[in-house]
């Protein structure tokens, strides 16, 4: 029976015909009641369950997922992790996440393939160069690593970038964050699921939450496609479906759902060893361990729950990429897909108790919540365990839309993922 992953267990299993491996998590039936139930088996929901068990000792927990683990945005995202945000509140959140990611493979005993290969955000115009300097200053003041690159610095890090005198998008410089990089998306979901299951959390797949059990104005549980389940507290991490569930719970959210698409090329030999983002062309790319160029860009402009992208945005993304990297013109695209993301007016997440007491929210991550999975899980677990905000989550409460204390990262750092 092999449960722990190590070089030794790999060797032992190799010699004994790979017969002793255990399923990574147990398939258990839904019990009628739990201390905490979490809706959504993406990275955010699974991380929440893990930290509830690990940090707070609350193990009578279920994660309820309508499809399969990580089949939402967690398994569809382009896996960029970074903390190059503008506002102190955001840097505290995303830097906590990056720090947790840095230790995660060891903590979970699961290789999440974190590759801190660094990220360049290109500046193509003098105005973008000034904005880059401003963001770098803000990041340094907020205590995270950031460096302002000049044109030479970009050339050194991105020799394949076409920045010559005839270039349409020359790079005058850019923002460098060396600790940024990528991680394996499925592994993050599966690693948290396996570790949570081991601590006693029930992971229930193929079970859709259909409604809330509301008694005395409080959320007391859920009605699911597999029957009712009761819980003292309920957490919700359903990304693009936040409004659908909020409607059932009787409130509205400051969320509009859009499709965000991505695509990958055929695999090629190593050619791009950093993550590159060009806010000006609305394109970003990295090369996966398999050799594929992973390409993403901006949101589709039409609100949507249809999990597929539209052509105009794909065209813009690819056109920008090929202008900057003419070598990629030979590549063939293998796959294109989209996920439904929950976009909030200030491009910052929503964390906190919902207008329905007993129901706690983790959502509004929009285009960038993969990098935030360890932090989002930590913070929702704290809320569910204590009923109170963590210092890092408090600024992200829903009340900011009434008080006007928005954390406008779209304006601050011009975020994309």
């Amino acid at each position: 029976m092999t449960r722990r992953y190590s070089a030794l267990s790999l060797l032992k299993e190799g010699l004994s015909g790979q017969k002793g491996w255990q399923p990574a998590w147990d398939d258990r039936p839904l019990k009628p009641r739990y201390d905490v139930v979490i809706i959504g088996g993406g990275g955010q929901g699974l991380a929440t369950a893990y930290y509830l068990a690990k940090t707070h000792g609350i193990t009578n927990v279920a994660v309820i997922e309508k499809g399969w683990l990580g089949g939402g945005n967690t398994g569809r995202n382009t896996t960029v992790v970074r903390s190059n945000y503008f506002f102190p509140e955001s840097v505290r959140l995303y830097d906590l996440s990056l720090k947790l990611y840095e230790k995660l493979s060891i903590e979970l005993n699961y290789n999440i393939m974190l590759s801190q290969r660094g990220m360049v955000s290109l500046a193509h115009t003098p105005a973008e160069m000034e904005m880059s300097a401003r963001v770098v200053n803000a990041m340094q003041i907020n205590g995270t690593d950031a460096e302002l690159l000049d044109a030479d610095g970009v050339r050194q890090r991105l020799p394949i970038h076409h920045g010559g005198p005839d270039a349409r998008y020359p790079a005058l410089g850019g923002i460098w964050q060396g600790r940024a990089g990528t991680a394996r998306h499925d592994a993050v979901a599966w690693g948290y699921a396996r570790a949570a299951s081991k601590l006693g959390v029930d992971i229930i797949q193929q079970c859709e939450v259909e409604d809330f059990l509301i008694e005395g104005g409080r959320c007391r549980g859920l009605r699911t496609s597999r029957g009712e389940v009761r819980a003292d507290r309920v957490g919700m991490a359903v990304a693009g479906h936040s409004s659908v569930l909020a409607t059932k719970a009787g409130f509205r959210l400051p969320v509009t759902s859009y499709a965000l698409q991505a695509c990958v090329s055929e695999p090629v030999k190593p050619i791009l060893d950093t993550v590159v983002l060009s806010p000006g062309t609305g394109t970003y790319a990295s090369q996966s361990d398999k050799g594929e160029i992973v390409i993403g860009g901006a949101l589709d402009r039409v609100p949507s729950y249809g999990q597929r992208g539209n052509l105009p945005v794909l065209e813009t993304v690819i056109a920008g990429l090929l202008e900057m990297f003419p070598a990629f013109r030979q590549l063939k695209l293998m796959r294109q897909w989209a996920g439904i993301v929950d976009v909030v007016p200030d491009s910052s997440p929503i964390l906190g108790e919902s207008p329905l007491p007993g129901l706690f929210l983790n959502g509004g991550w929009g285009t960038g919540g993969f990098k935030a999975i360890p932090a989002g899980g930590t913070l929702l677990a704290h809320l569910l365990a204590t009923g109170q905000h963590h210092d890092i989550s408090r600024p992200f409460d829903l009340d900011r839309f009434t008080t006007g204390r928005l954390i406008d990262e779209a304006a601050g750092s011009g975020i994309a993922h």
Binding site: V244, R252, P254, R301, V302, P303, N310, P312, F401
Partner: protein, 87 residues
């Protein structure tokens, strides 16, 4: 490329249109006497329906604003209707 239909110009490519918000989200009257909650609801809270939606769109080439009924899951869009004074 999806085709949307402007009530004034007819069928045009989606890139000529701009999403203007949910229809029926009326601005509260009363200025400073309107409670913060009502302003917040008007400015930020959305139904964001999965399926049938009634939305305000602008055709950015003729600059007309109109109502469009759309299904946000199938992406089927009905021809736009001119605003009859009230959304």
């Amino acid at each position: 490329m999806q085709i949307f239909s402007c009530p004034f110009c007819g069928p045009r490519p989606e890139t000529e249109f701009h999403f203007g918000g949910e229809a029926g989200n009326d601005r509260p009257h009363g200025g400073a006497s309107v409670p913060a909650q009502d302003w917040a609801a008007y400015l930020h809270l959305r139904h964001n329906p999965k399926g049938a939606a009634r939305e305000i769109w602008m055709h950015t080439t003729c600059l007309e604003v109109f109502v469009m009924e759309r299904d946000t899951l199938s992406m089927r869009a009905e021809p736009g209707q001119a605003l009859g004074g009230h959304a």
